[in-house]
Symmetry: D2
Subunit: 421 residues, 4 copies
């Protein structure tokens, strides 16, 4: 039997643990040992178990399901500290969906990890409509990561001088940022000034990695170089929030960040009527009033129905940084008439994905990446991260057209009622 | 042994499955059976296995870890369709952290499900600083869910008449929206007009539920009532995007949605210097330049360092709707001098949480809710959902002060380097 | 001859001024007299002349046109200090345009004071289209002024207590704000909290006045009352920028401020083709792509082509506060098909106008108000300020449909070239 | 006597007009002649008079002050159509203020045309504080005009191809845009994509002109070139609203437009206490809470107290396009401690000014430009428009520090009460 439950495994191989338990628990209670120190003291497997059991004893609870997992704690050390087990998120498979991209071409099953009833069914319906329509087109328009380093100067005249200096010394700064790194390429440094504050926004290509760590490290080197050669500038923060990472921002909606991806599908009048059970005019009208006018009226930066739902489900499945759902929620769904047919598109200006690093190495997440064939990074080119971006964008497209279609037939509440029984 | 791995269980009790396998796979391949139809045909457990094995055979892959799970598919029917297993997210425990709230009072261990290395350690450090400082204060300032229903009228004069009519008939509309529901309370209906478009934004208290489904159903009833009694209004969409759900928006930053929560901690000069290894002035200065000025300069709605990280980790752990990380990413971190000490606060205008419905029933998630003592909903009062909101806000506070502290000592990149080894 | 040039008048009646000139100039040069002190020393007329001549002598310039004005300085004392003359802005008359409003009904000539070539002609063309279409409808949906007072509290628990106290004591606060004032009505006080900061946003009806001064004074009284009876609150600022006055803001786009006005006109296919020289489809399409999608893509709060142009021209003409052009630039132009015809609408959420106070008393501005028949304020009801708001909104509508029409026939640059010769 | 009142002049030299009056009025009433046709029929001077008198007769009004002006209608033909006279805006002189800029160096009197009582006095007080502090520093960080041209393509693949084509053919497009123009320099063309919509944002230096007309004409040429050589692109609009012109936008706050200018002044503790009657701590604190936190809380893009007031007053005085007050209202006021002193700064990312074209030729406006010494444009270098931008920024700085100072001593309402008597 190849598959074992990690929790059971630990229990089986640590029979002598029971004898030490009382002693360790006492030391944890008294604060002589900290929970995080257990990894070094007893090893990762046992530490995970002891922490869990200690919490159980403290709160008089049973955490058996949390403890019943298959990830090897030794593979999780770059992802978590103070591990006590795992949370299991139901995983659906939808599709396959036909994709005609530059990196993703063919039919793809989409893994969705979610607890929101009706979501997988909805995306599945969207995939079916896309397939009937000959597949979805998708392009990656931009691909760069950013980090904005924050400095302070002594006067506004210095601010201007600093901006010019950065511009004139870009090649040196680029070299500094790239040294000792395999595949980061620093492409731009944009200065922004408010009073005495100067942000240097690095733009870099980070290949198949999402790249936040990589660019942070490059930024750190650049900071060290700058403070050593440019007089009169004070370093404030490695991130000055103009990046903008994991926060809603007009900056990213306008200029993009990570991958800017656009996906589309042309749907015929017949398919609209037979499969989406509505009309071309209704789709166009509802999208305009809801996704465009409605979002505008609320001062929103998300001119879409529910990008975040699909992105959250695919990010959890594929071991992406889930907080980047925020960035992914920006963008536009357009529905426009094209002769008798209708063209659906989604524009995602700030999709943050990578196929190395983060949660991509974890056993269940890596299997999901394998389902898409993007588990073997080709680091420098970023081929697979762009392929992943294209696939996610098509998943988002499927989710959008399905929901807009459902709203046109006014059955949103009904479908929630039925499925969330 | 109480705990079994669900994947194994299925394998053990369906020995006769092997004989049917070939036949079912052929029907799936030819499209005679759809993947989603398997639930009804062979039952949830087996359907989950067959779908997974079918994908394995189609893609020549092994998905053993996805198949090695402990959730009972029968408990997941309100959360997923086309299930093939689960994705396991590493779970950490941090704290306990001392909370002085109106609903949460005492010391709480915080479960964090994440794949972002250093996050749990960082929040843990924040909790430790909070504890040394006597605990965190936290208050829930608002508690309401919203849904904006979109109508179209024939003229702007009608738009005005409709707004007035809604205002004058609020009590009737409220009654309609609340009927047959246990505990929703419709508190306001705000009309918004752009040209011929009229959004009616419902505000409702939904007790211990996050409430999106509940308010959608209430909205549906109100729509039916309106179109039956008010002439000259055309119903467009059950959600007109002015809610605003799972999308960045100034609306929610300004007016709030879900729970508006504020948490704070007063940290002494000594603790700042000894534990955060920085100074009060640096904390105040960095927060002002980065979180406030920096975010403003980027047209951001998130005046914070990384709310989304902590919220994502706690939402996954607690079975919340992960797409709501978007809403949770809005808000402010303030760091202000108070005599010799420093007051840290986080203001979360749109925290979407509930302790019934959604993923809260799932085995691992429910155990996390039990760790916080919020697993037994007191539906009408919403006591436990407000308690959960308070605890999450304090987790966010811990994460913010820890990161701001780390940035002040300039070691962000270093800590990433060390932990993401 | 009733009309005299004010500059000449001064010159004629102050023959003895020449003798004192040298002495006064020397005192101004040496700083013994300040320019602003001249009003009290020599009277307004002469002071205006001396300041101008002093600047002329200092800079070796001739400011004869600035000095050739008809406003009586004595009527300008509430509008200006250190007066040296006037700037003359060319005034156009366009229309008349047919308006079917609740306050404005009939045909109105519109005065536009502008230096932007082609603007008056463009609005005139729009008026002509409106007239051919039977006139413009217009409604005022909201009418209230706001001021947000900023306080600081000692803890977030106090913040919550303060919000509740304000809610419970609204009637008292209202009474305090309204006392000794003729016609302000305080209608709401909305608290907003970020950390320890609490904004109380007053909403008040200010009748026929634009009302910023009036509500500032009411706010001042309310502040005095609060600090005298509520312990533990520190007053920070009479305006805490959440008003939001004269600054771009999502707040005002969403919630409105001043007058929220919507104007519309239904234009037939024939008129579109014969007069606007384009098609219904082009108008709808261009407005959607430019005004809605384009603005959204730029993170804009102005989903229109050039509201600000018309508002600036009418505000200067009518003696309104020109900085309020900022507020007026927010809002939406929608162009939607209606059968074979097209419905144009403009939605102005934050139009700040009044017919008493400010520049409305000045001779030329007051004559412009008389052209619209709104010079005699009916203070309490605000009838004339709402009438003015309706008329301006229709002017904006005319300007929008004219420009959108011109863009559809691609002749924007050409018309600029021809007119700006 | 050099100066004559234009209205009187007309009356004197057209004695035979009375005889034709009845005839012309009848033709205007019956629609045989349009108001705008009078210029060609009777000449500009007389046409201006007839239009005014016709309105007087129609409405039974006396518009004598409007008719009592000094601008020569022949000089206004690029600024207005359907002229009937002028509106006179009271003009103040404040300062002189000491400026240490790159283009403006020395002491400058500032002309302010406004009807808002207390504004000139407030700016004057600010100038006085600046002078006592040794003058204001000011730098222009960016200088470019933008126009975004909107196209539509047939597929998203075409969108990508078009973006690449524009990038690769930039030099040709630049040449096309610059031909036959004296001094425009096209510096960048940035493509933005949403679905099938592609905006090409031109960035150009326009020397001493504000440049909107110039860049519109350049854009027109580029459009003609593109549609003639690139297959599969449809031209939609010469302005696609991503410019962003005269509308609030995050785009301009972030990236800048027109001139990006920063001005600052270091004020000593003594001057703060003696002249502003407050403390350094209060200034810093109030600015942070009001201008930064308050604006952020309202979803504002104007992190300042009242930029728009000063910009409106100086734009009217200097013949700038007053609708650009909207762009000017964006930006930041920072107040930061610097040792015992305080550094005030204003950052204006989108100041739209020029010293040729628009209203700069008008007699009164041109005299105001002469006061600043910027009336003689050096077209190519843009020297004087940058000088004007620097001076206006310092005016804004004076206004901000004066108001923040006044708010610190809590006397805003009081000063309004006293001055608006």
């Amino acid at each position: 039997m190849k598959v074992v439950a990690r929790g059971q495994f630990v229990m089986a191989t640590n029979l002598d643990y029971q004898s030490k338990k009382k002693d360790i628990f006492e030391k944890l209670s008294s604060g002589k040992i900290k929970l995080y120190q257990l990894d070094d003291l007893v090893g990762l497997d046992l530490a995970t178990r002891i922490r869990r059991e200690f919490v159980e004893s403290q709160l008089d609870l049973c955490l058996e399901n949390i403890g019943n997992f298959c990830l090897d704690p030794k593979t999780c050390t770059a992802n978590i500290e103070n591990m006590i087990g795992t949370v299991q998120v139901p995983l659906a498979i939808v599709g396959p969906v036909k994709i005609v991209g530059e990196y993703a071409t063919g039919n793809f099953y989409l893994p969705l990890a979610t607890t929101e009833g009706a979501l997988a069914a909805s995306v599945n319906r969207g995939c079916s409509v896309i397939n009937k329509s000959g597949g979805a087109q998708v392009v990656v328009l931009k691909d760069f990561q950013t980090r904005s380093i924050l400095f302070k100067v002594n006067s506004i005249v210095e601010a201007k001088r600093f901006c010019i200096w950065v511009y004139e010394n870009f090649e040196d700064l680029k070299k500094v940022g790239e040294q000792d790194e395999d595949f980061i390429r620093v492409e731009k440094i944009n200065p922004y000034v408010v009073g005495l504050n100067v942000w240097l926004q690095l733009e870099a290509n980070t290949g198949d990695a999402m790249g936040m760590n990589m660019i942070t490290i490059a930024g750190k080197k650049i900071v060290e170089y700058i403070v050593s050669v440019f007089r009169g500038v004070e370093f404030i923060s490695e991130s000055g929030n103009m990046c903008v990472d994991k926060k809603p921002s007009a900056m990213n909606l306008i200029n993009g960040r990570g991958k800017k991806v656009v996906a589309s599908v042309m749907i015929s009048k017949e398919i609209v009527e037979n499969n989406l059970k509505t009309t071309v005019d209704c789709l166009v009208d509802l999208n305009y009033r809801k996704n465009i006018l409605g979002s505008a009226s609320a001062g929103s930066l998300g001119y879409n129905a529910h990008f975040a739902n699909i992105i959250a489900a695919m990010f959890i499945a594929m071991g992406q940084d889930v907080a980047h759902v925020v960035d992914g929620s920006h963008g536009f769904t357009t529905v426009e008439k094209s002769g008798k047919n209708v063209l659906f598109s989604v524009t995602l200006p700030a999709l943050q994905v990578g196929v190395i690093g983060g949660g991509t190495v974890l056993a269940t997440q890596n299997e999901c990446l394998r389902i898409l064939g993007v588990h073997a990074p080709i680091k420098e080119t970023g081929y697979n991260s762009k392929k992943l971006a294209e696939i996610i964008a098509v998943g988002v497209l499927a989710g959008e057209l399905s929901l807009i279609g459902a709203l046109c037939s006014h059955d949103l509440a009904r479908s929630h009622k039925r499925l969330n029984r």
